[in-house]
């Protein structure tokens, strides 16, 4: 407790997002504030909103939800009319398989997100904000609600915040179990009380979003990084990471490693280091076979690629995959890629929203083709059909779900074709469920 009273800022320099996580009870506003929380919010109210936007832009912070679009640039598209009705949405619907960083962040330290959102709201001039949290995270929603209540009681939210004449209301909105609501326009549809089907773009949400009004959607991690950036400046943030991928990133690591969990490392850290140093190496000392580097929609890396890749947006992309949400699933040599393929395809079949035809029919068919072995109709040519079908789904739909289903399928076929061929030619007796 002593250390906290002294405003222990030692960790700030090691972490941006997890800098408070070692402090017990930091989910309480009081503890958080004693450790230096909400300071930046107060300081920012004296700054020009445009200046805040500039700092965020200069920091090179990229959207942490998966696409990696620079947050500052996205903010630049947003209307500058401060009187216009507009919304700030926090995307906490992390449903990409393998991802649990936002849950961890919100659970341990909801206030860092709230602080980040208030600063962002001030910068963007939004009067209302919603934290869209996935339905399964009921407990985390409760934690957030409690934190919001504390912030309201302190006058950090609501009307005329700290006497600055700025109004910002923030609410938690629970989803109800649909992967597609993690897509920003799907989330907006869901918030509007409809099916969470993505909307046609253009118009983009920054122009016409929730209820047809300008809406800014940012990931939890992006918003939570804002207070740190404001505290230490863009240059300090850029010291982390690579030239194009600045800052630190939360990685959710699961699978065959000794210590699965969330870590925060600068972008550009090698995957080898993440596995060997931060995650305590492979489970049972097994040999690594493959890694899913950015959630289930990212094509897999084989053994060699895994050990040579640096985890930043560019390097992962140059090796034919994507950093995505930073969900690393590690598979060791005992795992079968066929199973991974089956689970992945089942997932996308289940989660396709059913709006665009290529995705609606394609995701189901990919699964059927891959499961032909269950009905005894499999042939080696099926892998080609699968590859061709997956390729024909890409870039054809409103949102990226079809791509998300097609990319890992194509990736696995590229890297592990012979294994998949062997897999589909193995008959099963699981024809009936």
């Amino acid at each position: 407790m002593e250390r906290i009273m002294e405003k222990d800022t030692a960790n700030y320099k090691d972490y941006s997002l997890l800098s408070y996580h070692h402090i017990p009870g930091v989910h309480n506003l009081e503890v958080f504030e004693r450790a230096g929380g909400y300071e930046m919010m107060k300081a920012c109210f004296d700054k020009d909103p445009e200046a805040i936007k500039e700092v965020v832009k200069a920091s090179g912070l990229r959207g942490r939800g998966g696409a990696g679009f620079p947050t500052g640039v996205k903010w630049g598209f947003f209307t500058k009319d401060r009187n216009a009705q507009k919304y700030l949405l926090c995307n906490a619907d992390e449903s990409e398989p393998g991802t649990f960083k936002d849950r961890y962040l919100v659970e341990k330290n909801p206030h860092i997100l709230i602080e980040g959102m208030i600063i962002s709201a001030w910068a963007l001039g939004t009067q209302k904000g919603y934290i869209y949290i996935r339905g399964e995270f009921q407990q985390q929603a409760v934690i957030l609600e409690r934190a919001l209540k504390e912030a309201y009681a302190k006058g950090y939210l609501g009307k005329n915040i700290l006497g600055k004449g700025f109004n910002f209301d923030l609410y938690v909105h629970r989803g109800a179990g649909a992967y597609i609501c993690g897509e920003e326009t799907g989330m907006i549809s869901s918030l509007e009380g409809k099916k969470g089907q993505p909307k046609l773009k253009p118009p983009f949400p920054a122009i016409k979003g929730y209820r047809g009004l300008p809406t800014m959607v940012n990931n939890v991690e992006s918003l939570a990084a804002v207070p740190w950036i404001m505290r230490f400046g863009a240059d300090e943030y850029k010291k982390w990471g690579t030239e194009k991928s600045a800052g630190t990133k939360l990685f959710s690591i699961s699978g065959d490693v000794n210590k699965p969990g969330v870590i925060e490392v600068p972008l550009g850290t090698t995957l080898k280091e993440i596995i060997e140093v931060h995650c305590g190496g492979m489970r049972n000392g097994n040999k690594l076979k493959a890694v899913v580097p950015g959630g289930s929609s990212a094509p897999v890396f084989n053994h060699d690629e895994s050990y040579s890749v640096k985890m930043d947006y560019e390097d992962v992309a140059s090796k034919g995959s994507m950093l995505g949400s930073g969900a690393i699933i590690v598979l060791d040599e005992t795992r079968n890629i066929g199973d991974l393929m089956k689970w992945t395809l089942e997932f996308y079949h289940h989660e396709s929203c059913g709006q665009c035809t290529p995705c609606r029919e394609g995701t189901g068919w990919l699964e059927s083709i891959f499961k032909r072995r269950e009905t005894g109709k499999a042939s080696k040519a099926d892998i080609d059909t699968l590859d061709k079908t997956a390729a024909s789904m890409r870039g054809q739909t409103i949102c990226a779900l079809a791509d998300a289903a097609a990319m890992p399928a194509q990736g696995m076929i590229k890297s592990f074709r012979s294994e998949l061929e062997a897999y589909i030619m193995t008959p099963t007796n699981t024809g009936k469920k």
Binding site: E94, T99, E136, Q139, K194, K195, R211
Partner: protein, 170 residues
């Protein structure tokens, strides 16, 4: 998303009405949003808190209450995995069957639980205690294989653990 013919509607055989407390909560929800429709998801969650699932009567009630066409509510219910328009048990158990959890036996646990409780997807056990639902990623891969018993995450579990935990449920 329940896997029955969409034309079937399930009735609970009695009219539905929010409790006074929930009606107050509903009013509070309305203040959060700039239009009534946006409150639909929270309201449906609220109905499920009250009676666990969404019978036809509840759909009609919400439709009148919020002035949203019934079909729109049905669309929403059918779209989301966590809204049930079929009767479910007192306790909702979600078993994750996504990649990491499947790697560590999530599917076997789900199959084992179905067998142990002699039930099927969402169908409540005979004593009405438990409904099992196979879920895609619950977002807790570090505790794979994981389960969600009502609102609590548990994991890693094995089948014996899971059965023990579920047997303890009221």
């Amino acid at each position: 998303m329940s896997s029955h013919s969409p034309n079937q509607t399930h009735s609970m055989g009695a009219p539905f009405k929010f409790t006074d407390a929930n009606l107050a909560t509903y009013q509070e929800y309305l203040t959060r949003y700039d239009d009534v429709e946006s409150a639909l998801l929270p309201v449906l969650h609220l109905v499920q808190e009250q009676i666990k699932w969404l019978p036809q009567e509840a759909i009609e009630y919400v439709s009148v209450l919020m002035n949203i066409p019934e079909i729109k509510i049905k669309e929403v219910i059918s779209f989301y995995d966590m809204f049930y328009d079929v009767p479910v048990g007192r306790n909702m158990v979600h078993v994750c069957t996504n990649i990491t959890c499947s790697m560590f036996g999530g599917r076997e646990i789900y199959a084992g639980l179905l067998k142990h409780f002699d039930t099927d997807y969402l169908t409540p056990t005979r004593d009405g205690r438990i409904s099992l639902q196979k879920m895609e990623c619950l977002g807790a891969c570090e505790m794979a294989p994981c389960m969600r018993i009502n609102n609590d995450y548990v994991g890693p579990v094995d089948l014996a653990d899971a059965i023990n935990k579920l047997e303890e449920l009221p």
